[in-house]
Symmetry: C2
Subunit: 410 residues, 2 copies
């Protein structure tokens, strides 16, 4: 393969053959093809796109750059969910143990937060002792014993994607749909799933700003999943206001635990059940029962314990990471809440220290918001719009100002 000729072919808008894509990614993974040729190809893909077939080839090539999960013949259905991420999205924390109540296996590999959206791994690490680093062997053993594991990507999974993702970040080639699809799907498909549900968010607090772009992304991911033999479903969900009423790591875990106790915000409970029903063998009613009767919470406890976490503390989670300052934000008028801008809430949470502006930033588990009011709620003058958890008074003051700009009462 003559590398510049392959780049030129894509630059001219032609489709690359499966072999060309796989040779390119294999060469990139082993170091024969340098970053400067990969970044030129990535920029050409940004401009010329890729067909469904090319995207599937790219996904396959990244997948085969590393190891994939292998299950015994006795294994049940293996299922997972992927979300494109949004403000206050703690669905995975509830959904993974809930699905495992159904005697499915849920080998959920998640990521860390960057920018305004949080990461499931960061939230899990707010649980004292919880270890997200699992080897493939540990993961297999835990699936046998508990049915669910929530972990980070092992170094052996999709090394091509790791290298390419870092390169795209510094070469302005992140927002390319085929590259996004191949990155997401290669990591998910390395879990060797039978079924996958994709939660694609759109709106001010999501990566995809419009429903059209979310539909396009969902369609492309579904095509790749099906091309690789995985029963793939997609669900589109708006993300104009945060999901649930809590934003911030420990605060979101606390809210997830509320839902696992059969309580918690209705929108969060509903989306968990909706997504779980797409890949589960039981119906929504059974899933709701497992939330209400403590079965799902028990599964969560077992998973936390299996990964070294303090399962006892889950019962009094709001005491685990108390913030130095908590402050309620009161409405200065009475009316109906017409907007809680997810993007602004996310930025405010980032500013408080709940997220990372850069990959090296430290996260403060304790900070963020809870009791966040929902769109459509009636509020009296002096009523609570949200509660701020901050490291100090100054940060709380800034956050209050930002929250007031995010919430509209009319």
């Amino acid at each position: 393969m003559h590398v510049p000729t392959v780049i030129e072919k894509k630059r001219e808008g032609q489709s690359l053959a499966d072999g060309e894509i796989r040779d390119f990614i294999a060469g990139y993974t082993c170091g024969d093809i340098p970053d400067y040729q990969m970044s030129a190809l990535a920029m050409a893909i940004y401009f010329q796109g890729m067909t469904a077939e090319e995207t599937a080839s790219l996904t396959h090539a990244m997948l085969e750059s590393g190891e994939v999960f292998e299950y015994p013949d006795t294994a049940p259905l293996v299922v997972d969910k992927h979300s494109t991420g949004g403000i206050g999205d703690k669905v995975s924390l509830v959904l993974a143990p809930l699905l495992a109540c159904d005697e499915l296996w849920v080998p959920m590999i998640s990521g860390r937060g960057l920018g305004i959206t949080g990461g499931t791994l960061d939230k899990l690490e707010s649980i004292p002792g919880f270890d997200v680093s699992r080897s493939r062997e540990q993961a297999m053993q835990q699936l046998e014993e508990v049915g669910v594991v929530m972990m980070g990507q092992t170094p052996e999974v999709c090394p091509a994607d790791k290298r390419l993702y870092a390169l795209r970040d510094v070469t302005a080639t992140v927002p390319s749909q085929p590259l996004i699809v191949a990155s997401i799907m290669s990591k998910k498909l390395a879990e060797s799933l039978n079924r996958l549900v994709l939660d694609v968010k759109h709106g001010s607090g999501a990566f995809m700003k419009t429903r059209e772009s979310a539909e396009s992304l969902a369609g492309a991911m579904q095509a790749v999943g099906e091309a690789m033999g995985v029963d793939t479903r997609t669900v589109l969900n708006p993300m104009d206001q945060p999901l649930g009423q809590a934003v911030g790591n420990a605060l979101e875990v606390a809210e997830a635990l509320d839902v696992l106790r059969g309580a918690g915000p209705a929108d969060l409970r509903q989306i968990v059940i909706e997504l779980a029903a797409e890949v589960s063998e039981v119906d929504a009613g059974q899933l709701a029962d497992w939330l209400d009767d403590g079965t799902a919470l028990q599964k969560c406890r077992a998973m936390v314990a299996a990964q070294g976490g303090d399962a006892e503390c889950l019962d009094r989670y709001d005491e685990v990471h108390p913030a130095a300052v908590t402050r309620e934000v009161m409405s200065d008028r009475s009316g109906v809440v017409t907007a809680v801008d997810a993007d602004r809430v996310g930025r405010a949470s980032l500013a408080l220290g709940a997220g990372r502006a850069c990959a090296d930033d430290e996260i403060d588990f304790s900070v963020g918001f809870d009791r966040l009011i929902k769109v459509g709620a009636d509020v009296a003058a002096g009523g609570v719009l949200a509660r701020i958890h901050a490291a100090d008074d100054d940060a709380a003051m800034v956050a209050e100002q930002q929250l007031r700009e995010a919430i509209e009462v009319e």
Copy 2:
């Protein structure tokens, strides 16, 4: 400057500010900006183009990455020519000494051949002893003494261009007009010229296949030249058949010497005078006289001697590099020559060993074609279409076949 943001700006089709372009190139030159970001920007430029202002900024940035020529206050006008290259183009070998007859200074920095077009440096090196490596100091001294120097790029000139050119070659970002213009013009403008004439070729044997693309390139180069304060003229010339009647290194030097003796092919003599008149202070008649009366040849001898070359051998140049095999190609019919395809002749010459397929290839000075028939000529059956100079019979046979495909007699 945040590098990915600059790449993103160009990716989105926005114009980069002068400072952004200069900081980017400065960072690239010193190694702060790695190849993978430069190649991503180059691909974004390929798709989005650059305005005349951006192209001038890029040229300036590459120019100021290295050293430029500086002349004493007593220096006369400094002039040069640049050609976009074509098959059999030995214009520089005649034009540079001819212009120096006019008491102008001609500091001509040239390149080597790659692919089907030859390079002036390769042709000059067929002259025994001729040294194309000149330091800036040697070049200045030779201008004072002879008025003309023909040399390669010194390592100090446009190091950013050297690095970027090599990178473009392996990342499929060569055919981008602003990158081409900045590469050509930065090297030429490092000569600190007062006047520059650009010979822009179009046709089957040229880099630009159509007159429209040649006009666009010429306009872009002229705009940059004028933005940098150089009196810049452009001349468009078709290149569907080879220029003159010789193709190959020593064979082209021999033909150039014919023109310097007042003889040689009419088309070559005419284009030399036309281009020289654009930057000279004398008229075409005077230039023709200097070719006819030996003044230009004398200047060429002085230049060759100043650069260590054997000036004596110029009088019997067809004996300097005799080919192992010479063979005439005869017409198998009588008629009028309607085509001598420059691209095919160039490929045949490359196959004989007159050029380089890769940058590391060795050149055979002796091989190529001469006595090549011109379009419009009458030829009898059995009349000579061309003479082949080859390293062996097999090569000559292949070349004959290729030549027959290049020449049409009707």
